[in-house]
Amino acid sequence: MLRVKAIKTIFLWDWELEYRRSSGWFVSLLFSAIVTFLTSLLIKHPSPNTWLALLWMILIFSALQIANKTFSANEGQYHYINQLVHPLELLIGKSLSSSFSTLLISLLSFLLFSFWIGFPKSSDYSMPLIPLIVSISLGSVALSFTLCFTSAIAAKVDGNASLMSILSIPLLLPTLLVSLRASKLALLGEHIEQIYPLWIGELSLCGLSLALGAILFPYLWRS
């Protein structure tokens, strides 16, 4: 039986720790700011395709950056946590907290990105921002749900950061493709009826990752 209170505790505990360690998600924010700034120096007025490719590259690496830290507490702490909560509650709490921080970082990077690089120049259409923001948000949440599970695997192998990238990047491709398509349609100013099936796709990929994680995590976590 899942206890909402336990999930909430894990979630809040994660956030409190992140907040206390100033090296927490401030590092992730700075990371994406630096990468965005670097990109803005390297490229001027990208075409819509290039623009999206750059944006998603930045988002994916920010998400990886956050996911690397998701399960990075030391063995002793988990020994303690495992006494108190069921593995599933731990996974859901961790997924929620990491997806929440990924969402925040993604939106902030998007803000910086549009501020420094701007939108594609060739836009002679009126583009509503909301569909683009929704596509990016849903996409980054879906990314972080998949990443959360692979980071649990990597954490069991002593949190090797490059192993984490090898394990997760091929698995992120379905989510990335759907999100790229959704944000492309949004960027081209398509009507919302064209885009929302892709949003459902993004959501169902979230659900798939979480469901698979829920089935497999108890096997992964027992030691």
């Binding site: 698995l171 491709l173 379905p174 994680g213």
Partner: protein
């Protein structure tokens, strides 16, 4: 030698002979390269069959320690061996496909969904092997890599499933191109194609189980 192994040899030998010697429809652009159907496509069927068995063995491994009994590490070893042989078949499928692409599309590699799907499958399973090799402890290795195998297999299938719907493709069966089965594959070709698929699956299964038995012997020594 068991009957299914003999069947595998006979079917593959038959498909090789009939594949090169039998009559095939003469189609523009494809010409004689249509014979590659008997060699290229069975590789993918075999790869999926072997990966499917690898998945089944991983699930069986995860379930094996449930009732407090000892986990069966051989199941995980089997999953690894089937995945390894499946990767050999995927490379073979890739090479035969590249030759075919050169003849019909004019290039060895394009950014085609089928090709990208293959590349991602290779990446996923190479990551699986890297994961295995980076863990010392036998039981931990078996547990983590089984979990990854199940997780990765499902996402790979999703990827292969949605990819062609997201992009255009030159490959038959995608992006509005008819698959062979629609009208090109006449009944004469079916008589060679299905035995080839079945035969190669049996041969792949056989190679994997020999590798598995070798590994067990090595472990016991």
């Amino acid at each position: 030698m068991k009957a299914w192994k003999v069947t595998g040899i006979i079917l593959v030998a038959y498909s090789m002979y009939a594949g090169l010697m039998s009559d095939v429809p003469r189609l523009v652009i494809l010409n004689e390269t249509i014979r590659n159907l008997y060699f290229h496509v069975p590789m993918w069927f075999t790869m999926i069959a072997l990966l499917g068995n690898s998945l089944v063995q991983s699930i069986r491994f995860l379930l094996s320690g449930q009732d407090g009994s000892k986990v069966n590490l051989n199941l995980d070893l089997k999953a690894k061996n089937f995945a390894e042989v499946a990767m050999i078949f995927s490379l073979l499928g890739l090479f035969t496909g590249m030759i075919w692409a050169k003849a019909t599309w004019g290039t060895y590699w394009t950014s085609d969904p089928k090709l990208n799907g293959t590349a991602v499958t290779l990446l996923i399973y190479l990551a699986y092997f890297v994961l295995r090799s980076s863990i010392e402890d036998f039981e931990k290795r078996a547990r983590l890599s089984s979990v990854y195998n199940v997780f990765a297999f499902v996402l790979m299938i999703v990827f292969i499933g949605i990819l062609p719907r997201m992009t255009e493709s030159l490959h038959p069966g995608n992006g509005g191109n008819p698959a062979f089965s629609n009208y090109d594959l006449d009944s004469g070709m079916r008589m060679v194609f299905y035995p080839a698929v079945f035969g190669w699956i049996l041969i792949g299964w056989w190679i994997s189980s020999i590798r598995h038995r070798l590994d067990i012997l090595k472990k016991e020594k």
